[in-house]
Symmetry: C2
Subunit: 140 residues, 2 copies
Amino acid sequence: MFESTKLLRTHGIPVTAQRLAVLRAIREQPHGTAEAIAEEVRSKIGSISKQSIYNTLGSFVEKGLLRRIQPAGSPALYEGRVGDNHHHLICRACGKTVDVDCAVGKKPCLTAANDAGFVIDEAEVIYWGTCPACLVTTTK
Amino acid sequence: MFESTKLLRTHGIPVTAQRLAVLRAIREQPHGTAEAIAEEVRSKIGSISKQSIYNTLGSFVEKGLLRRIQPAGSPALYEGRVGDNHHHLICRACGKTVDVDCAVGKKPCLTAANDAGFVIDEAEVIYWGTCPACLVTTTK
DNA sequence: GTCAAGTTTTGGACTCAGTCCAATTTATTG
DNA sequence: CAATAAATTGGACTGAGTCCAAAACTTGAC
Ligand SMILES: [Mn+2]
Ligand SMILES: [Mn+2]
Ligand SMILES: [Zn+2]
Ligand SMILES: [Zn+2]
């Protein structure tokens, strides 16, 4: 039995071709948009509806199988690396997204100067900058 | 002469009723959406087009008069507090958004564990949690 | 293996936030 | 005040995501 099948079973999620294909697509696409994942899935199983992509990604995020990040000015990205509270570094020019380890590890990794009585569960950090490739292009 | 008029003049921005009204609306609305600001403007000068709202807010952000923040799952928010690199704390339940001072001050306030060769210009931090009011409601 | 019950998938309509565009109006400069 | 450049307008349009009802599945019990 496939690893992914087992993973779904242990989470009590019915096993479907679409869900297995999404799981597979995520492995190929470290930080993919819903659309990119849909394309990847289609290249493997022929077709999938937009709604199934969103259903699947959404429920996987809820179940903790996936993580969703929503950078400003970009559609949401999905990734399989969960549970380690890492952060992201995004190129303003080309959108290239790379993982940045969190020095602290556990969420929330930062303490707010004044928490205004909120109960904080996460400190989301996105580093913005220019990637090596785009640095070359812009300085030319 | 009004303060806002002076501000626009010193930035070489032609003074229009719409731009003055947007500036005024921002003062009433610490972290408002484009739509909220448009409503505030309409209540003062009668009407403004959607496009003018976006033109004005966009160019003010470019000129450094305003700051735009784009939290996951919400339209962009605009604020007049610029130049101090503060962060934000947002309630997952009701969206209430409050300022959090940055301990470091200057951008980028955090150093990435591994920068992958990027030149980082900003570390954007959003704290997510539950505000005092929503804490009461959910524990009930 | 078959069946019933409950889920999932589908496609198509729809919403929301934002952008594009051409025509009209307005601010600035001389 | 007139000329010029810039801003404003409304309306069409886009992209990302959601809503909905019908059809197709997966599962669990027999
Ligand atoms: Mn990641
Ligand atoms: Mn703020
Ligand atoms: Zn780049
Ligand atoms: Zn709240």
